[in-house]
Structures are given as C-alpha cells and as structure tokens.
C-alpha cells in the first residue's frame, strides 16, 4: 500500500495546526484581523480563528490526498515538516511567546 495517503493526512494536520497558531497571534496583534475573524459574536474572534484553520486544514488534506493517494512520498521529510509545524503551533498559542512577536 502506498504511503501517500498517510503523508497527506500527516502534513495537512501540521499545516492546520500551524495556521491556527498564526491566526491566533494575528487576531491578537491586529484589530482589523480580530474584527474580520468574528464569525459568531458571542464567541468573538475564536470562532473565526478556529473555523478558518479547520477549513484550510481540510482543503489542504483534500488536495494532498488527491495528489498523493497512489504515490510513495518522502515520509521522513513530511513527518519532520508536520512535527515542526505542530511544535510551532504549540508555541504560538502560548501567550507569553505570542507577546514576544
């Protein structure tokens, strides 16, 4: 069985997590981004940050799955990229780190 499907899911999850971290910081730093991300007023910008990140994650996953599903891909590099993105996301969501940016 080709490893492309696995690689697509792994990399997309890393991308989705990273986008979440970036949007969380952007909404914290910019009033314009913050108000643009208020999709549901009672929840504030959290609604837009998470909905946008989830959409980007799912679209990335769909595209990568479509391109890689029958292929054998370089998983070591994909894993490393996905885990770095996941680690960055953990850091970016941590307020003291975000405050340094």
């Amino acid at each position: 069985m080709a490893n492309g499907s696995g690689g697509a899911a792994i990399l997309a999850a890393g991308v989705g997590a990273f986008v979440l971290g970036v949007l969380a910081v952007a909404a914290d730093k910019s009033l314009a981004v913050k108000s643009a991300l208020v999709f549901y007023r009672p929840t504030g910008q959290l609604s837009g940050v998470t909905t946008t990140a989830i959409l980007i994650w799912l679209i990335t996953w769909g595209v990568l799955e479509w391109r890689w599903r029958h292929k054998t891909v370089a998983l070591r590099r994909i894993n490393l990229t996905a885990l770095v993105l996941l680690g960055l996301s953990l850091l970016l969501t941590f307020p003291p780190v975000a405050d340094l940016l």
């Binding site: 792994i10 999850a13 990140a53 969501t93």
Partner: protein, 188 residues
C-alpha cells in the same frame, strides 16, 4: 443538592467529554505503541483492528464535542460583559478574574492558551483516526507513518491536558454558573 444549567454544561464539557478523552488517550497510545510496532510478531486479528478503529472514532467524537461545547456553549458565558459599574462580577468569570492581580493570569495566560491549544487535540486525533482507518494492520509496515501517528497522539494528549488543567483551575477561581437550578437530591 442542586446544580445550575451552566454548571451542568461545564461538567459535561470538562469531566464528560474532556475527561473521558484524556483517559482514552493512554489506551490509544499503548495500543499503537505495543501492538502495532514493526518488531511485534503476533498476528493482529480483524477484531483487534476493528476495536482500535472504533476506539479512535469514539475519541475523535469526544475531542470535537469537547472543543465545540467549550467554544460555543460555555465560552460565551465566560466572556460575557457586565453592565458598566456593575459591582457583582460573579456571573462574569472573565471580568472577575481580570479584576484582581492575583487571578488575572488565569485569564491572560490560562484561558488565552486553553481556548486555542485545545483545538490541536481534535485536529491531531482526527488525522490519527483517518490514517489508522486507512492502513489498519498495514501500519506495521509503515514505521514512519506509525511514528507520526504516535507523535500526534502524544501532542493531542498534551493539548487536551493543558486545556483540562486550565479549565479546572479557572473554574475553581471563577466558576461559570447561572441559568436555572436543577435539583439533584433533597437534603436532610
């Protein structure tokens, strides 16, 4: 003995969905690490693969229910703004925490981190479930995929643990309460 509607939702979100998810993480990690490692010789039956698949699907549902109830049911109550000059902040947990220097960090660090980091749990475990559903016992022949799946499960556990810890501590200092009262047991 009674509980408020908001208190009940907090319980369902934290101890129900979140707590069960945290408990389930250790089981998934043991299964993925021990039974599905490349060095294991024992045969894996379809029943065992089916069980783990069902287990991971249940975890995925729990993780999504935890973040969705947190963000769309409880968070609006937490961040509600009182009328200007309102002296009683008991029904406004975020404002109550921020009103005192000894508790403000529970919001500015705790809640600010929790509300975002928690979402890494469902994203990660959804990926793990999808990959396991696709590869099943074949995952033994793909050590790189197996390693990534285990790493994402660990991060998912960590993210849920951070969210759970801060959720419990914040609720201790400024509980989300209100709504109608539900009588559980009549006291003596």
């Amino acid at each position: 003995m009674e509980i408020t509607t908001r208190g009940l939702w907090t319980l369902i979100h934290g101890m129900g969905f979140g707590g069960l998810y945290l408990l389930a993480c250790s089981g998934a990690l043991v299964e993925l690490f021990l039974r599905f490692s490349a060095g294991e010789d024992g045969a894996i039956s379809s029943k065992q693969v089916g069980f783990l698949k069902g287990y991971l699907i249940a975890m995925t549902v729990l993780a999504w229910l935890a973040v969705l109830t947190g963000a769309y049911v409880i968070y609006p109550w937490y961040r509600a703004v009182p009328a200007p000059g309102s002296p009683d902040l008991a029904a406004f947990p975020q404002r109550l925490l921020l009103s005192n220097l000894t508790t403000s960090g529970w919001h500015s660090i705790g809640m600010e981190w929790k509300e975002h980091v928690a979402w890494l749990a469902p994203i990660s475990i959804t990926m793990v479930t999808a990959v396991f559903s696709r590869y099943g016992r074949e995952i033994r022949n793909h050590p790189q995929i197996r390693r990534a799946v285990i790493c994402f499960t660990v991060v998912s556990f960590l993210a849920a643990g951070i969210a759970g810890f801060f959720g419990a501590m914040i609720d201790k200092h400024a509980p989300v309460e209100g709504g109608g009262a539900i009588h559980l047991v009549r006291g003596d």
